[in-house]
């Protein structure tokens, strides 16, 4: 049975349809990349799954997580699922952390919300989480403020937060786009490792085919809110059918990636 089943998902903002009849399926522990250019509706698809669409955006169709229909659920029910069954890592590490809350408290926030940990247990769990994502000096780090961390470190905090409750589904919305190239590679390796370890299903959103090819065996291509191609990354890279996908592949090759190193 599939963990996440999106069918006929459309998102409308003020009369304009920005995501149109998208259908995706994700088995437990499976990885799927959703790629497309900016404005193609990748992020809105992710936010629709999380039930976090901005004011004025309306989603129709069906999104099922473990058989439970998410669209139309109340805020209270969604809050119970968010951070517990499904979690998200965001694109901008610089702004995804509350500047007035110490790292440790933010790290343990999902655990306090969903596991009912008290302050003490949460503080201990935060140190553990920080160590898990390879942050240096976790004991000291949990007591620091977000502005004292580098972008890469903050993104690790974001990842640790998302995976704190061992959710069944992790949505990563361009988690490496805002990072330096060298840090990007580390981050991808870490993501790969942790998702593997926890058996988390991954929906990886990106505009970069070269990045996703290493991580996800399956890829779906979104263009102007429509799904134009979906299949094994290997096949899509070798024989892209849709003209847009062909351009994506060409672009990835042009940036010095000529021997595709494709995930299993």
């Amino acid at each position: 049975m599939s963990l996440l089943k999106i069918s006929d998902l459309s998102v409308r903002i003020g009369g304009t349809t920005v995501v149109e009849e998208v259908g995706l399926e994700l088995a437990p522990g499976e990885r799927l990349a959703l790629i497309g250019e900016s404005g193609s509706g990748k992020s809105l698809t992710a936010l629709a799954v999380m039930g976090l669409l901005p004011d004025g955006a309306e989603a129709t169709g069906s999104v099922r997580l473990g058989g439970e229909q998410l669209l139309g659920l109340g805020d209270r029910e969604l809050s119970r699922l968010r951070g517990e069954r499904m979690a998200m890592v965001f694109q901008e590490p610089m702004s995804a952390l509350n500047p007035l809350m110490r790292i440790g408290r933010q790290l343990a926030e999902p655990l306090r919300l969903h596991r009912g940990l008290n302050r003490r247990q949460a503080a201990a769990a935060a140190v553990e989480l920080a160590a898990q994502v390879g942050l240096p000096d976790p004991e000291l780090l949990v007591r620091s403020w977000p502005h004292q961390l580098s972008g890469g470190q903050r993104q690790r905090v974001g990842l640790a937060m998302a995976l704190a409750t061992r959710p069944a589904l992790l949505i990563a919305d361009e988690p490496t786009t805002a990072l330096d190239v060298t840090v990007q590679a580390d981050m991808l390796r870490l993501l790969d490792e942790l998702v593997q370890q926890h058996g988390t299903a991954l929906l990886f959103i990106s505009h970069d085919l070269a990045v996703v090819a290493r991580l996800c065996p399956r890829v779906a291509v979104l263009k102007d809110g429509r799904l134009v191609e979906e299949g094994a990354t290997k096949t899509v890279v070798k024989t892209p059918r849709h003209p847009y996908t062909q351009r994506l592949v060409a672009a990835a090759r042009a940036t010095g990636w000529d021997t595709p190193e494709v995930a299993r």
């Binding site: 999380m50 968010r82 951070g83 952390l97 007035l100 809350m101 580098s150």
Partner: protein, 285 residues
């Protein structure tokens, strides 16, 4: 940023320091007047009228009715400070309530709250106070309510813009994605992040309140006699300004210094809480 650190940053700026001193003098005068004044500020002794400073045991002299000027100033500080603080408290409650309902309610009810706020802003504080006084009679509470509501709607506009900005940030989205409910998000993420702006605004509300209280008692809409206030002192002495200018100058200075004090304190607080001027703690990593 921790509180002691913010205080240190506040005292380091010249504005903040001067503001703290002026407000400190006001607070100290009010506190002293609670336990001691040289004379009873309302004691009328016509035989001691019009005494000059440093005469007859009166440091700042007496007015027409022989009331001690210094005692009146000290007691006036108390009513000024009390009115200003309570009005600021009312303003904070009104402003926060309006701002939060405006940003948290769904679309049209939220917009309605914004419109209501904008309409209320159009009424000057003094006008609201005079209307309330005309209806309910003059009392300290009428003045506090009027100033508090008047300043509160102005505060609501600033607070709403700031709250909308914070609600739009990625960390609020991330908090929701982690399963935080609306009220928890408001408590843990929204309020702490709009607090610096609110505190600065509230110190400015205090200065407006001092001025408004003085103006209202000057116009005869304040706390009725025999209560002592700086505005009333100005009102009572204005007819004799040519004969005894000092009796008008003292309460005038008191009002001006208090308003300046709260304004400078606000400026200092803004500088102290400005992220770009923040003192960094030692980076652990």
């Amino acid at each position: 940023m921790s509180v002691p650190l913010a205080l240190r940053a506040l005292l380091r700026s010249r504005n903040g320091l001067v503001g703290c001193v002026l407000v400190g003098v006001l607070v100290l005068s009010a506190l002293v007047s609670l336990v001691w004044t040289p004379y009873d500020p309302t004691l009328v002794r016509p035989q001691d009228g019009w005494l000059l400073p440093f005469s007859g045991g009166h440091l700042l002299g007496t007015d027409r009715l022989g009331r001690d000027e210094l005692s009146q100033l000290l007691t006036g500080a108390r009513s000024t400070l009390r009115t200003a603080l309570l009005a600021a408290a009312v303003a904070a409650v009104v402003g926060l309530a309006l701002a939060l309902t405006a940003v948290l309610l769904p679309r049209w009810p939220g917009a309605a709250v914004v419109q209501l706020t904008d309409v209320l802003i159009a009424f000057p504080v003094l006008l609201i106070a005079m209307i309330l006084t005309a209806v309910h009679g003059g009392s300290t509470w009428t003045v506090i309510t009027a100033i508090g509501v008047g300043a509160g709607v102005n505060l609501a506009r600033v607070a709403r813009a700031e709250a909308a900005r914070v609600l739009d940030t990625d960390y609020v989205l991330a908090a929701h994605a982690a399963g935080s409910g609306t009220w928890r998000t408001v408590r843990k993420h929204l309020l702490p992040n709009i607090a610096p702006t609110l505190i600065v605004q509230l110190s400015l509300v205090l200065s407006v309140a001092v001025l408004a209280e003085a103006a209202l008692s000057f116009l005869g809409f304040g706390t009725p006699a025999p209560a002592v206030s700086w505005g009333r002192m100005l009102y009572e002495q204005q007819a004799y300004i040519a004969a005894r200018p000092l009796l008008v100058i003292w309460p005038g200075i008191a009002v001006a210094a208090s308003v300046l004090g709260f304004n400078l304190l606000g400026d200092g607080l803004r500088e102290a809480t400005d992220a770009r001027l923040r003192v960094r703690e030692v980076t652990p990593v």
